[in-house]
């Protein structure tokens, strides 16, 4: 029995299908392609800009614009194939989006003015924060939550690496009107590496619940009126039966309305806090990435010198002994020469 047998035996251990299924089920359905999107849009925008400039130089007229657009689509399609061969459908959309922004309409996010009064909006935010001073950040964070009359719904802390690599996940609720200010303040106390804010319009379901409550309340009143007038027992029993059903429906609808109100009044903020030795800001632009990689390499270089210095200092006793030996040898050699 030896090492090879052991390796063979362990090779035979593989994760059973049941486990694979369980883990796969954990995978949250998510906005998978977001970063890819940005890249595609950026690349497509570059193409469009280049082509627009080029066609301008060539002196093409407005009449030729439609043809140019067709060309652009081809170019965009090509760039898509290059960068994301599994997202061809998405690419066409990306292309038309960049066309719009390139032609200067810039209407992609001009929505605020369209907000109708009394819309029921549920806002949620999700932030990743990195910090060098974990404890300070947590203290400041708690202060901010209190200041904006929010509260912590859930909080978990991990520390699996070493002491300077702590991790926390928090779900915080902040009054919706304070959300923006709260996020602004967070950017001051830590470095936000990713941020997403979603607004979910639940007006339709909210109105639906409200109107059902009204209808049931009316029915309740009618039933009560009928009940007063009812004379025979079977009528009374039937009416009360219906009444109790109406009341239980009302209860659950009111609870739902309350939970909607809660969701609207308090925005959920999920925070992912990471302690790092140094903060690298997330930046998707070309220079941003160059900067990030450069910083990483500089950091590694610094790390190398640090290690070198540590090893050098650690080796000092040996160096000292070697030095003493060398001096003695030199002295002996000199004395012999003098003789």
């Amino acid at each position: 029995m030896n090492k090879k047998d052991y390796i063979k035996a362990v090779d035979n251990i593989t994760a059973p299908q049941s486990l694979l299924d369980k883990i796969e089920a954990l995978d949250p359905p998510a906005k998978k392609k977001a970063p890819m999107w940005k890249k595609i849009t950026a690349v497509a925008a570059c193409f469009v800009a280049v082509i627009v400039a080029f066609s301008g130089v060539m002196g093409s007229t407005f009449k030729a614009e439609s043809e140019d657009r067709a060309d652009m689509m081809v170019e965009n399609g090509y760039s898509n194939e290059l960068y994301a061969d599994d997202a061809i459908g998405d690419v066409a959309d990306g292309g038309s989006f960049t066309n719009q922004s390139a032609s200067g309409t810039g209407s992609s996010n001009g929505n605020p003015s369209m907000k109708a009064p009394n819309r029921k909006i549920v806002k949620t935010a999700s932030l990743s924060i990195r910090t060098k001073n974990y404890d300070t950040l947590i203290t400041a964070l708690n202060q901010k939550i209190e200041q904006y009359s929010g509260y912590i719904e859930q909080s978990q802390e991990y520390n699996y690496d070493n002491a300077s690599n702590r991790n926390a996940n928090m779900n915080v609720r902040i009054p919706a009107e304070n959300l923006d200010k709260f996020i602004e303040e967070l950017a001051v106390i830590g470095t936000i590496t990713s941020k997403s804010i979603t607004s979910d319009d639940i007006t339709d379901s909210y109105i639906d619940v409200e109107s059902r409550i009204k209808a049931l309340e009316t029915e309740e009143k009618t039933l009560l009126g009928l009940l007063e007038k009812a004379e025979n027992l079977s009528d009374v029993i039937q009416l009360q039966d219906r009444l109790s059903q109406v009341r239980s429906d009302l209860e659950s609808l009111k609870t739902q309305k309350q939970s909607y109100d809660g969701m609207i009044a308090y925005s959920g903020v999920s925070l992912d806090i990471q302690e790092v030795e140094r903060v690298v800001e997330g930046d998707d632009t070309f220079f941003g990435e160059v900067k990030e990689k450069l910083m990483n390499n500089l950091y590694d270089l610094g790390d190398f010198f640090r290690e070198f210095a540590i090893n050098f200092i650690a080796a000092l006793p040996y160096i000292a002994i070697a030095g003493v030996v060398a001096v003695i040898v030199i002295l002996i050699v000199k004395k012999k020469k003098n003789k």
């Binding site: 029995m1 030896n2 090492k3 047998d5 052991y6 390796i7 035996a9 362990v10 251990i13 593989t14 994760a15 059973p16 049941s18 486990l19 694979l20 369980k22 883990i23 796969e24 954990l26 995978d27 949250p28 998510a30 998978k32 990743s128 978990q156 991990y158 699996y160 690496d161 991790n167 996940n169 992912d272 990471q274 990689k293 990483n296 390499n297 590694d300």
Partner: protein, 161 residues
Amino acid sequence: MTVFIKGKDAFSFAFKQFTDTVYRVALHNTANSADAEDVAQEVFVKLLESGKTFRDGEHLKAWLIRVTVNLCHDKFRKLSRETLVENAFAFKTGEEKADIVEAVKSLPENYRNAIYLHYYEGYTAKEIGKILDAKENTVLSWLSRGREALRKELDGGFDDE
């Protein structure tokens, strides 16, 4: 150059590449495959929740191994190693065909993890020290004592060749 893996990417990467590793480590530190499955699943939950950024695949792998070992340690602290290996007595007396994995599992926690990480995963003592939070020399002595114990228990010992 450094390539960062984080969030969902880390999860799917870990799922594709390291599910077997996590399961193997878990199996080395639990009594049966059901427990090992539970632990492995929990490790992936932790990975999702942590949202950590990893320098590269190796960093991710080391993190997964570390978390697996720690989780098993926390969960099964109370179990003695006799319970961990249900037929520990059997292979000592030679009544049953010796199972080398069971033999490794019968070693103390640190010995068996060091043996697994060194002989199967090919980590050096220094790397194992980083994962298990111990000094290189400690790991070396775990390895040699682990080998010694295996030599006694297994026919033909547990040699490098």
